[in-house]
Symmetry: C2
Subunit: 190 residues, 2 copies
């Protein structure tokens, strides 16, 4: 998606360790007019797919998912991150390893909000090692619901997550796939 690539080239910042900082428009400050364009593009790509619910993960996936949901006309559920050892109540739970923060945590969704009749689109801002996406997919599978696909804003194509997730049979649509980042800060797309 050219609009997004242009924005990454203009406002993204590359830091050592293959960190791409896009917090001026995507995941700290959020450009909601850009989110509308992203939402429309997700809807265009998944126009042929039945979707009854969008599932995302806190915190930075929520804004994108909510704006995208307007174009799909479905509710959003967000998985909560928790380090609590014993979760009270009826929840689906899976484990996620964070690339950015270098730690492991559980994600949970109340069983009230995922049913076997649901056809679920996963939405997230980044796909890197694939752990968050696989964790979300596991929640959907635990609920016996249908995985309709995954919509990702930025995929780090040089990391293993994209392949790993697609190998499970999940359809992944990434709006920008970064193939490499130079030490001088230049971002290249696939």
């Amino acid at each position: 998606m050219q609009l997004l690539k242009d924005r990454i080239l203009r406002d993204g910042k590359v830091f050592p360790g293959n960190v791409l900082k896009v917090d001026s428009f995507l995941n700290h400050q959020m450009d909601v007019s850009l989110f509308c364009a992203l939402g429309k593009e997700f809807k265009r790509r998944f126009a042929d797919t039945e979707i009854t619910k969008i599932l995302t993960i806190e915190a930075s996936g929520i804004g994108i998912a909510c704006v995208a949901a307007m174009y799909f006309d479905v509710p959003v559920v967000f998985a909560k991150k928790t380090q609590t050892k014993n979760i009270a109540g009826d929840v689906y739970k899976s484990r996620v390893e964070s690339f950015t923060h270098g730690r492991v945590y559980d994600i949970i969704v109340s069983k009230e909000f995922l049913h076997k009749e649901d056809k679920v689109l996963l939405i997230d801002d980044f796909l890197a090692n694939g752990s968050a996406l696989l964790g979300l997919a596991a929640l959907v599978q635990d609920a016996g619901a249908t995985l309709s696909g995954a919509g990702i804003v930025i995929e780090k194509g040089f990391q293993t997550g994209g392949q790993l997730v697609r190998d499970t049979g999940l359809r992944v649509e990434s709006l920008a796939i970064v193939s490499s980042m130079d030490a001088d800060g230049t971002v290249h797309f696939a």
Copy 2:
């Protein structure tokens, strides 16, 4: 706002300790078509006010803030919760006491995304003891920016936060003010 009150009466659940659970439409599963109505109503109430940015707090404020921002045509910034003792980088920081979780944490916003020229509308899902809202207001004040007001979805009118925040001179618009909740689960509005 009648639409919201009706929804709280229909889908809200009252739990011991004055807990109002609205996670089927507001802060776990999110009814984005309702969020559109909330966003329009915030815009109507603040139509006379100059606003250049919306500031909210992760996680449950983000969805409402992003949808509302579409009607204001401004970017959203969300404050991050952190228990990290030493924050790296240039951030504004303040302290918040959580009513729901019974713990204290810091909230931070990068100095890049709050400037003294900004006229900031605070948005959050709940106003109870006022701690989150006062924490957000402190970030805006630290940045030397203008506090244009606060838009709250549900205010617990029987707690002290509303008075506390309004006493600071901040204009607070709450779309539903709960005056009391009965043991049998009935919710009353102010």
